[in-house]
Symmetry: C3
Subunit: 342 residues, 3 copies
Amino acid sequence: MKFITSQIAALLGGSVEGDANAEIWKLCKIEEGVQGGLSFLANSKYTNYIYDTEATAVIVSNDFVPEHPVKATMIRVADPYLAFANLLKKYNEMQLDKKGVDAQAFISPTATIGKNCYIGPFAFIGENVTIGDGVKIYPQTYIGDNTTIGDGTTLFAGVRVYQNIVIGERCILHSGAVVGADGFGFAPTADGKYQKIDQIGTVIIEDDVEIGANTTIDRATLGSTIIHKGVKLDNLCQVAHNVVIGESTVMAAQSAVAGSGKVGSHCIIAGQVGIVGHIEVGNNVTIAAQSGVTRSFPDNVTILGSPATDAVKQRKTYIYERNLDQLYKRVDELEKKLAKME
Amino acid sequence: MKFITSQIAALLGGSVEGDANAEIWKLCKIEEGVQGGLSFLANSKYTNYIYDTEATAVIVSNDFVPEHPVKATMIRVADPYLAFANLLKKYNEMQLDKKGVDAQAFISPTATIGKNCYIGPFAFIGENVTIGDGVKIYPQTYIGDNTTIGDGTTLFAGVRVYQNIVIGERCILHSGAVVGADGFGFAPTADGKYQKIDQIGTVIIEDDVEIGANTTIDRATLGSTIIHKGVKLDNLCQVAHNVVIGESTVMAAQSAVAGSGKVGSHCIIAGQVGIVGHIEVGNNVTIAAQSGVTRSFPDNVTILGSPATDAVKQRKTYIYERNLDQLYKRVDELEKKLAKME
Amino acid sequence: MKFITSQIAALLGGSVEGDANAEIWKLCKIEEGVQGGLSFLANSKYTNYIYDTEATAVIVSNDFVPEHPVKATMIRVADPYLAFANLLKKYNEMQLDKKGVDAQAFISPTATIGKNCYIGPFAFIGENVTIGDGVKIYPQTYIGDNTTIGDGTTLFAGVRVYQNIVIGERCILHSGAVVGADGFGFAPTADGKYQKIDQIGTVIIEDDVEIGANTTIDRATLGSTIIHKGVKLDNLCQVAHNVVIGESTVMAAQSAVAGSGKVGSHCIIAGQVGIVGHIEVGNNVTIAAQSGVTRSFPDNVTILGSPATDAVKQRKTYIYERNLDQLYKRVDELEKKLAKME
């Protein structure tokens, strides 16, 4: 995408000082200006760079008065920093506004594709898949048979969704996320081996869910693994078979919920937390980073530690532990005194 | 895939009541019935739904007596829940029974492909690769040069196997698994940088191994990283260079074995466990979730904690730690009493 | 690739005894020799295998004297083990010496591709992407719009780089690595939901960086997530938005740095470490495995534990904790004695 400086000025409600037709095709820092680049000057520490920058244009404040000649075209606005951030946002939106079904995508003849979708090269859409309106399926993404993707959902490059999965509307799945791989279920046999238990359930992801890069959500053994509305999962999280995560719960990177675990709504789960299987975490629960949740917890608690317990108590325990050297000394001392007294 | 109700009844050994030619192309819940959908009624709490369901057919018990007219075709069986589960299993098997080499796969002319294989669109099969009989390679999977895949193994969409790897028979690799990336080996240089150590070994995965989604197994520096027969690795696990994992050991999600670590056979490793490099864990060892294994352990032990130790002892330590506030008070008390006595 | 025994002998500075034109196309163990295979005999425990091996050729020591006839062609060298390792290294280099742009890659007409690049089948190169000289882009890799890849960098199969990212020279990104997915940023709304915060920043990866399989590096909210020169990240690591990692720092598998965390240069971070957001870790800091870093630390310290503290102190604390049963007994004893005395 190329723009000219006057277009950008119009977009920002600013005015051009210099070449109103100069072509811009990228954003850059003022100190690393390049031809075709647009930068901004918001911090007076960087003022000196404007005189030498190779950037084609620089967004400056309405009241900026140069002390030397400025080679770059200046776009004057009220708040250069805010203007630049807005520009980034619009730029981002434009870049992500992909449309059209690429000829190099594989789309099963039995699949149904909604209106205004993007399906990129090397994407694979299986049999009987239903894709809603305005869905964006980036290159190299895989959608297994009979899966449904709701309106306005985006699947970035290389997302894998297995067969028979249901994904809601306005969801965002980042690259490398895997939805619907087999749950980890094996029955030990008499000879010490393991027999695979068929994983014939599915995954239901409701509306407005965001799933981070390389996060994995397993299909249920029977029934459904359910991610309720508005849940946000960060990168590299693991959600095992038959887990249920309640509405608007957020989970930071590398956290995991083991098989059949239930997490309530509006919970805040920090990074690297592990929640064991078959327990229930209530609503509005906050779990500190690296906690190991080994039992059920009621609503509205904040927990910490491995094994996790009430966070206030656990923080005190940490202090007691840290000072154990002193406690040992005090006991030594007591023993000595008592020995003398005896 | 489409079926008619009489086919499904025959499959389940049941009888049709209604339209024996009604077309079924998906499974659904009775309360969320849709046209073409097949549901089941096993729990009397859901009986009311059968009169209004939009499902095309419903599996019901032989002794179900409707109190109102039922629009849907009924398939009568002895046990509707079991029948539905069997159907799911057969449906799953059918869905995964892919065959044929897609024209949009890239297959090196020097590769050898066995009989009855599935190779999906956008799969890449490198030079001199050997693929056994009945192997399923889903779309977008990568098989590097000289790699061998044994009979009956399935690689789901987007698995990456680097060059010179050996994978046995009847293995299952889930989406995003990476086998054979370089081990993490660097030699510090005099100027504080790191020089890469060439990772010229390989990975051997024996028969009947299952590898979870986005799990990574690095190639050896020299020699082989070895995953023995029947090992089951869950999602997001990390197996470093030159690790050996013994027969029928299972490892839950997000666990890791560092470089040159050895894990015995028939071990049970829970989630988020870390095993440091160059140590040896015996056979039949059970390791609790989030443990950090920092030294070797013999056969038949159960360990817990970070650093990990005997689980019974560690559980007691957790209790002692949790009650430290009481112990501090008792020592305070003792000091006061003793001070009085002095 | 095929070689004849005389070529290999020339490469190793050795001599051929047997068929100088025998064709070799793979490496194998002497005890698992196959036609076309080259093996080596370095350990006398394996000597017996040489008489029966099906390998086409075996590298042996100059002073090896067979006691029976040897069917395989022998290549004599001074040190067979070293020769074999050198061969592996050269073989590896040759295998990775891919060239040419595959017709089945998708390359946007506005992208710029350097000299001597490899772009494999099903790779996707977006608009205005700049690819330097000698870059290797393996099959099924995704490069988003406006991203720049420096000279000599290798992206293995299935790497995903989002739009507007800058990757330096001589970097190596392993399969499944994701660079530039959205940072995990959401603003809570009055009704208990979350509003996505646009992630409009980027990621800058400097020269000589290696990134492990399935590692994720998020784009900045605004500005840049920066991985400085010579950093080495292992598999399954998480680097959140706006993180900065200093020169030549190494981070082992499954470690994470949360949003806006800063890590200094020349740090050694072991596996499964978590570093919370908005803190600063100094230069030359060593962090033990599974540590949870909850506060800033200065240069040159070694830390351990969750929460992490000075490693020497923490190791003592672990011993104190492990012996708490004894301490409790001592306090019991003291109380009894004192009760008697009172």
